[in-house]
Amino acid sequence: MSALLRHLRIWLASIRYSLVRAMMFRGDFLMWALVELFWMSVNVLLVGVIYDHTDSIAGWSKYEMLLLVGTTLLVQRLLMAFFWSNLFELGRNVRSGTFDFFLAQPGWPLFMVSTRKFDLDGLVNVPVALAIVVYSAHRLHLDPSAAQIAVYAGLVLCGLVLHYATLLAIISMVFWLQSAKGIEGGYFGLTEFSRLPREALRGIARVVFVYALPVVVVSNVPARLLIYGFEPGLLVWMLGVTVFWLAVAIAVFNAGLRRYASASS
């Protein structure tokens, strides 16, 4: 328990340090917030353009689709705020040997690697993603109960863990490759599928992206909860894949860690 508290205190200290740093470079912070906002708008724009030419995608109406996209953006903003920079830099640090410093720190290496930085610019766009979800729900005349909203929040948290696990497993490939340059693209490639309704995937694509990988379930389950109400089977499924994929990602990281031989001269 004391170890857990100690790690929590380290995380809070890192967040405090990152906030101070963000306020020192306010121009940079505003620019990054704008960048993220613009990328979110690109996703919303795509929905707008496609639905200008069609009424439905795999049975999902425009605002159902927007709710799905909003949920994905919400999870991604949280990932950007808490974990993206840390894992992105893991790739660079392993190559340069700077990773040694994390191993020398008084804490679990994965925890120290994952929590060193906190990006406020990612967090300030969380309300924008939430606004997209709320607006879509309003246009769909949804009236979710308090329990539905609470479970939705829990599912978004599971989604955050799943995105983290996906990114960690991909970036950990740097332990085997010469460089991490470009491999983070795998994360973006996979998470694109979370903006698709499950019904759009058929055949082998459904087997791979719905059942084998958690990339569709991560957004579809929370969005469906708001649209169709409780579906217990889906909730159990979501919880199960979250635990499973987090364990897989940690195992990949640990395997890489055993391979790491430093790069210092």
């Binding site: 990328w39 030419h53 069609t54 439905s56 795999a58 340059k181 470009g182 491999i183 759009a200």
Partner: protein, 271 residues
């Protein structure tokens, strides 16, 4: 050493450097296939129940995205802005100031070598999946040959514009310590106005017209549209080529201006 021999040597060295990261490029190209699967699923679902969207059948839209993705590997100045920025920040450009080497030409040679390697490597996974996706694609018929002739210079100008925009962003390092956010913001604008998210002709006509006057249109959409039959009118193609050439000249002038102005601010230190 002649001018050509000098930059040919840079080009050859660039190829060797790029080949060191061949596995990363191969992995990136393989990951991009995921994007293609996403595109096929999304647009396949959008077309369900209708034969055309924006006047184009599903096969034409899928072909547009496949060609665009391949061209991205051959043309996109993916890392040049960061590398130029690093060279300015770390003082590595100092060596070019005292030697008879033009920095723009040096970086352009490296850009061509890197694009050649990434482009060719990206073809490997695409050729592997061609038997599966081939039947879903449709290239324009034979009468489109004149437009292919326009596409050839358009591709070269597109490469030049891609590189020059990246070069200009790199030059910003003379004024700003951190330029990454500018680059990512520009990438987002480029993704939309360059037609990477959706074919630009699906936008409202007034917005499409407006976008055709911007340089982003000529980075990727214009050559792709010529190759995939989304632009079929030769006069429109020739007008586009003229505007594209105009942007290439304007951006080159801007790049020169940023370099000369930036150097005035630059301080070379060290022994």
């Amino acid at each position: 050493m002649s001018v050509v021999a000098k930059y040919r040597q840079v080009f050859l060295t660039g190829i060797q450097t790029s080949l060191v990261y061949r596995w990363n490029f191969a992995i990136r190209a393989t990951f991009s296939l995921l994007h293609l699967v996403y595109i096929f699923i999304l647009w396949g679902a959008a077309y369900a129940g209708q034969s055309e969207i924006g006047g184009f059948p599903l096969a034409a839209t899928l072909t547009y995205f496949v060609v665009l993705l391949i061209l991205q590997f051959f043309l996109s100045a993916a890392n040049d802005d960061y590398e130029i920025s690093e060279e300015i920040r770390n003082g590595l450009i100092n060596q070019f100031l005292t030697k008879p080497i033009n920095y723009f030409a040096y970086r352009l040679s490296l850009y061509f070598s890197a694009r050649l390697v990434t482009g060719v490597l990206s073809l490997v996974p695409f050729l592997c999946i061609l038997p599966f996706i081939g039947p879903k694609l449709a290239l324009p018929a034979g009468e489109h040959l004149a437009l292919y002739a326009v596409a050839a210079p358009a591709l070269l100008l597109s490469a030049f514009i891609q590189f020059t925009i990246a070069y200009c962003f790199g030059m910003l390092t003379f004024w700003f310590l951190e330029i990454q956010s500018f680059i990512i913001l520009s990438l987002a604008v480029e993704a939309v106005l360059g037609g990477q998210i959706f074919p630009l002709d699906l936008m409202p006509p007034w917005l499409y017209q407006l976008s055709s006057w911007l340089p982003y249109y000529y980075q990727m959409y214009f050559p792709t549209a010529l190759l995939t039959g989304r632009i079929t009118d030769l006069s429109v193609a020739l007008q586009g080529l003229a505007i594209q050439a105009g942007w290439a000249v304007a951006l080159f002038a801007l790049a020169r201006l940023l370099w000369t102005r930036g150097l005035r601010r630059h301080t070379a230190v060290g022994g």
